[in-house]
C-alpha cells in the first residue's frame, strides 16, 4: 500500500511541475499586464518604468525560475490588481467562500443524485426512471450561467424567496449551489444508476433474494455498497470540477470566491494571482484525485496490486 501511495504521490509531483510550466507559459502568452494596468494614454516612459518595476523586462526563463522558487514556499508575489495584497493572500481570503459554496453544491449533488440513481435503477423503465433520465439530460444540457440567471430571475426577482446575489448566509448560497450542482447531479445520477443496474444483475444479489433477505437490505447493503465504488471514483472529479466550475456561477451570482477572483485576475492580467489561483485549483484537483485513488485502493485491493 505504501508503494502505491508513493507512486501516486510522485505522479502528482510530476503533474504539478508540468502544470507550473503550462500556467506560466499560458499566462505570459496572453500578453503583458502592462497593457491592462496602464491607461489608454500611457506614455513610453510610463510603460518602461512599470515594466522595470514589475520585473517584466527580465528574460522569461529568469522570471519562470523566480516564480518556481517562490511558488515552492507559497509565495506567488504581489497582486497587481489588488495592490497591497500578496497573490496567495488574495486567494486564501477568497477560498472560504468557494469552499462553502462548493461544499453545499457537493452535498446537494450527493443527496439528490445517489437516491435518484439508486431508485431509477430499482424502478428501471418506470415513470420515475424516465423522469430521472430527463433531469439528467437537462442537467447536462443547461449551461451553468444560463441556469443561474434563470434561477435568479424566478426565485429572487419574481418570487423574492432568495437574495439575487452577493455574499452571505445560507439563503445567498442556495441558488448558486443549485446552479453548480445541477450538472453534477445529472452525471452522478447516471453513473449510480448504471452501476446499480450492473450490480443488481449479479449472482450474489440474486442469491440474497433467493435466501429471503429483505429487499431493503439487498439494495442498500449488498447492491449499493458494491455499486458505490463507481460514484466514489467520480467523487474526485466532482469535487475538483465543482471548485473549478465555480468560475461561471460565482461571476453570475457575484459570489466572491476564487472562481470570480480567477476571472477578475485574468481580465486584469494579474499574473501573480492567475498563477496562484490556477496552482491552487491544480493542487486541489490533484489532491482530490489522489485521495480517491487511495480510497479506491482501500475499497478494492485489486487496484493496488495491479
Amino acid at each position: 500500500m505504501l508503494r502505491f501511495i508513493f507512486t501516486r504521490l510522485s505522479h502528482m509531483l510530476i503533474a504539478l511541475f508540468v502544470i507550473t510550466v503550462i500556467v506560466f507559459s499560458l499566462s505570459h502568452l496572453t500578453g503583458s499586464p502592462i497593457d491592462a494596468l496602464l491607461p489608454d494614454d500611457a506614455t513610453q516612459q510610463q510603460i518602461d518604468s512599470l515594466t522595470e518595476h514589475l520585473g517584466l523586462d527580465r528574460p522569461y526563463y529568469v522570471q519562470y525560475l523566480t516564480f518556481l522558487q517562490n511558488a515552492a514556499v507559497g509565495d506567488f508575489g504581489d497582486s497587481t490588481k489588488w495592490k497591497g495584497n500578496t497573490a496567495a493572500g488574495v486567494v486564501l481570503e477568497r477560498l472560504p467562500a468557494t469552499l462553502k459554496l462548493g461544499g453545499l453544491a457537493v452535498l446537494i449533488s450527493v443527496a439528490v443524485a445517489i437516491p435518484l440513481g439508486v431508485l431509477s435503477a430499482i424502478w428501471r423503465g418506470s415513470i420515475f426512471d424516465r423522469m430521472a433520465g430527463i433531469i439528467a439530460l437537462l442537467g447536462q444540457s443547461f449551461p451553468a450561467f444560463w441556469l443561474g440567471i434563470i434561477l435568479m430571475w424566478i426565485f429572487a426577482v419574481t418570487l423574492g424567496w432568495f437574495p439575487t446575489s452577493g455574499y452571505g448566509g445560507l439563503s445567498y448560497m442556495i441558488l448558486p449551489a443549485i446552479a453548480m450542482a445541477w450538472f453534477q447531479i445529472a452525471a452522478l445520477t447516471r453513473l449510480t444508476r448504471s452501476a446499480m443496474l450492473e450490480v443488481l444483475d449479479t449472482e450474489y444479489v440474486k442469491l440474497a433474494r433467493v435466501k429471503g433477505v429483505s429487499e431493503r437490505a439487498v439494495i442498500w447493503k449488498h447492491a449499493f455498497r458494491n455499486a458505490a465504488i463507481v460514484p466514489v471514483t467520480y467523487f474526485g472529479v466532482l469535487a475538483g470540477s465543482l471548485l473549478t466550475g465555480s468560475v461561471v456561477v460565482e461571476t453570475v451570482f457575484a459570489w466572491p470566491g476564487t472562481g470570480l477572483l480567477a476571472i477578475d485576475a485574468i481580465r486584469g492580467r494579474d499574473f501573480p494571482v492567475v498563477q496562484s489561483v490556477v496552482m491552487f485549483f491544480a493542487v486541489f484537483y490533484l489532491l482530490a484525485n489522489f485521495l480517491v485513488d487511495v480510497l479506491y485502493a482501500v475499497v478494492d485491493p485489486r487496484i493496488r496490486f495491479s
Binding site: 500578453g31 503583458s32 491607461p39 489608454d40 500611457a42 490588481k81 497591497g84 488574495v90 426577482v157 466572491p256
Partner: protein
C-alpha cells in the same frame, strides 16, 4: 369596564410609543451597484483613474455639480498662476481636516501626495501632466507647483478626473502604505469603513463635517458586480438603490418604474479610430496597405454610418451626434461651425460613399481592402461590441470588405503601444478631457506611442499650441487642429453621451453630478434619499 380597558390600551400604547422613541432611528444605507474597477486598491496612483474611493477622498479642486466648472468645493479655497502658467499656487482651506483624527490638511500633505502619485509604480491616466512638476510648501496652507512647461489646463489634474488625490502625510508617517491599505483617511463628507476584496466598499457619513455639508444618509455601500444581468436583478428586486447599467438593459428598469438620472453634462465621447494613420513624412512604420490612408476611404466610411441609428440602438436615443472627437464646448478650441457643417460633410449618404469608393478605386486599387473592425469590451463602455457589429453592417452595406477582430482591450493597448493596432476600433474620451489632452492623446505624435493619427499640419499647430500661453491664440490653435481633424476625416466621431445611473425612486430622490470623473459619477455626498 370599558373605561378600564381603554385606560389599559392607552397605557400599553404609551409604553410602546416611548419604547419606539428610545430605539435608535434606523440607519439609512444607500446601496449602489457598479462594475468592478480595473484595479481594487486604496492607492489611487495604482489605478488607471477609475477610483472607487471617490466618496471619501478629494483633490484640491472641485466641480460645480450642475455646470461641471471647476470650483473651490475641493480642498483649495483659491488658486492663482503666474503669467506663463508654469507656477500654480493653491491656498488650502484651513478648516479642511482628514478623517479619523489625522489632523488638518496642510501643504505637506500635498507635497507628499505628489511624490506618491508620480512614483515608478504609478499607472494613472493623465499622469504626464504631473511629469517634472515640483510641489513646494510655501506655508502650512499654501502650496506652489512649478511646472517644466506651461500648463493652462493644470486644474484638470486636481479636479474630478484628476491625477492627484490628497492623502494624509501624518497617517503615512505613522502607518506607512499599510495604513492606507487598511483605512485611508480622506477628507470628504463620507469616510472609509471597509473594503471587501471583490465585493465592494462601505463608507459612512462624517458627522459635523468640516465643510458644513453633511451627507443626508448614514452609509453608502458600493457593490461590485461584473454581470449586467445580475446588476439589473439587484435593482428589480430592490436590493440596490442605485445601479450603473448598460443602456441596452436600462429599458427593462425604466419599464419597471425605476428612474434614470443623467449627469448634468456630457461625460463621454465615443468614436471609431482609423488607427495607424501615421502620415508624418519620414515615418518608417507606416503600413501603406491600410485602405483608410486614402482620405476618400475615410470619408466614405464616415458617410456609411447612420449615426442617428447608432445612437438609437446603442444609447437608446439619449445621446448627441459628435462632430469632432475630443472637441467640446466647455474646452478651448470649440468651433461651432464644425457642428453646423457636420451633416453636409459627414451625413449618412450611401450614394456619396459609394461614389468616393469608386473614385478611389476601391477595392481594386488596394492590396489589402479589408477593413478590420475591432470588437472588444471595456468597463464603462459595454456597447463597444455592439458598436463593432453596427459598423460592420453599415460598411458592408456601403460595399466595404470587412472583418470583425475580437480582442480584449488590454491586447489592443499592447498593439497601440507597439503602433501596430492597424484597425478601425472604438475609443472613448471619458470624461471629456481638456482639448490639449485630447489632441495629444489621439492626433499628435506628442501622445505617442498610443496615438492613432499624425499629420504634418496638426504637428505644426500642436508645436505652437503646447507652448502658447496666450489664451486667445491657444483657442485658435486648438480650433485649427479640430478643423484639420474634421476636414481630414481623421476619425469617425459618433456620440456625445452623459453618464447615467438608474435609481429606485422609493429610496433615492435626487443626485446631481456633472459627469467629470472616469466612472461618470461623483458628488456622492449629495445623494438625496427619498425620505
Amino acid at each position: 369596564m370599558f373605561a378600564s380597558k381603554l385606560v389599559r390600551v392607552a397605557a400599553i400604547s404609551a409604553v410602546l410609543a416611548s419604547a419606539a422613541a428610545l430605539m435608535p432611528a434606523q440607519a439609512q444605507t444607500i446601496e449602489m451597484v457598479m462594475s468592478p474597477p480595473a484595479v481594487e486598491t486604496n492607492r489611487y496612483w495604482n489605478t488607471p483613474g477609475d477610483f472607487a474611493l471617490g466618496p471619501s477622498m478629494q483633490g484640491l479642486v472641485g466641480h460645480d455639480p450642475v455646470t461641471g466648472a471647476y470650483d473651490n468645493s475641493g480642498l483649495a479655497e483659491s488658486w492663482s498662476h503666474n503669467d506663463d502658467f508654469t507656477e500654480w499656487t493653491f491656498k488650502l482651506k484651513p478648516e479642511a481636516e482628514f478623517h479619523f483624527g489625522w489632523g488638518p490638511v496642510t501643504a505637506a500633505d500635498v507635497v507628499h501626495s505628489l511624490a506618491l502619485h508620480t512614483g515608478p509604480d504609478t499607472t494613472l491616466n493623465g499622469i504626464s501632466q504631473l511629469e517634472g512638476a515640483v510641489a513646494e510648501a510655501i506655508d502650512e496652507h499654501t502650496v506652489k507647483f512649478t511646472l517644466p512647461a506651461p500648463q493652462v489646463d493644470f486644474l484638470f489634474v486636481h479636479g474630478g478626473r484628476g491625477s492627484l488625490v490628497i492623502y494624509s502625510k501624518a497617517q503615512f508617517d505613522k502607518e506607512g502604505l499599510e495604513g492606507y491599505d487598511a483605512k485611508p483617511a480622506g477628507t470628504a463628507n463620507l469616510q472609509y469603513v471597509e473594503r471587501n476584496i471583490g465585493q465592494g466598499l462601505t463608507f459612512e457619513k462624517v458627522e459635523g463635517h468640516w465643510s458644513g455639508q453633511d451627507a443626508q444618509f448614514d452609509r453608502l455601500e458600493l457593490k461590485f458586480v461584473a454581470e449586467p444581468a445580475t446588476t439589473l436583478a439587484q435593482l428589480l428586486s430592490k436590493e440596490a438603490d442605485i445601479v450603473i447599467l448598460p443602456r441596452e438593459l436600462q429599458g427593462d428598469a425604466l419599464d419597471a418604474g425605476f428612474e434614470a438620472i443623467p449627469s448634468t453634462n456630457a461625460s463621454n465621447q465615443t468614436t471609431m479610430l482609423f488607427n495607424g494613420t501615421f502620415l508624418l513624412p519620414g515615418y518608417d512604420g507606416l503600413d501603406k496597405t491600410l485602405p483608410w490612408l486614402d482620405i476618400r476611404i475615410r470619408e466614405a466610411i464616415n458617410r456609411s454610418i447612420d449615426r442617428q441609428a447608432v445612437i438609437d440602438v446603442l444609447y437608446d436615443g439619449r445621446a448627441e451626434i459628435l462632430p469632432v472627437f475630443g472637441m467640446d464646448p466647455r474646452h478651448e478650441g470649440y468651433v461651432p461651425e464644425l457642428a453646423e457643417r457636420f451633416e453636409a460633410a459627414y451625413g449618412y449618404d450611401l450614394e456619396k460613399a459609394r461614389a468616393l469608393m469608386a473614385e478611389a478605386g476601391y477595392p481594386e486599387n488596394f492590396s489589402n481592402p479589408v477593413i478590420p473592425i475591432l470588437s472588444s469590451t471595456l468597463a464603462g463602455n459595454p456597447e463597444f461590441p455592439a458598436m463593432a457589429e453596427l459598423m460592420q453592417v453599415f460598411l458592408d452595406e456601403a460595399g466595404f470588405q470587412t472583418e470583425i477582430v475580437e480582442m480584449d482591450w488590454a491586447s489592443l493597448g499592447g498593439l497601440r503601444s507597439a503602433r501596430e493596432a492597424k484597425m478601425f476600433h472604438p475609443m472613448r474620451n471619458l470624461p471629456v478631457k481638456p482639448s490639449a489632452v485630447g489632441i495629444r492623446n489621439y492626433y499628435s505624435a506628442t501622445g505617442g506611442p498610443r496615438n492613432n493619427y499624425e499629420d504634418e499640419v496638426i504637428e505644426g499647430l500642436m508645436e505652437k499650441y503646447m507652448v502658447s500661453i496666450d489664451l486667445e491664440e491657444r483657442n485658435e490653435l486648438a480650433g485649427g487642429i479640430f478643423t484639420r481633424v474634421f476636414e481630414q476625416y481623421a476619425v469617425a466621431p459618433l456620440a456625445s453621451i452623459s453618464a447615467e445611473v438608474i435609481v429606485n425612486p422609493e429610496t433615492v430622490r435626487e443626485w446631481t453630478f456633472p459627469g467629470t470623473t472616469s466612472v461618470g459619477v461623483s458628488h456622492f455626498g449629495s445623494i438625496v434619499p427619498a425620505n
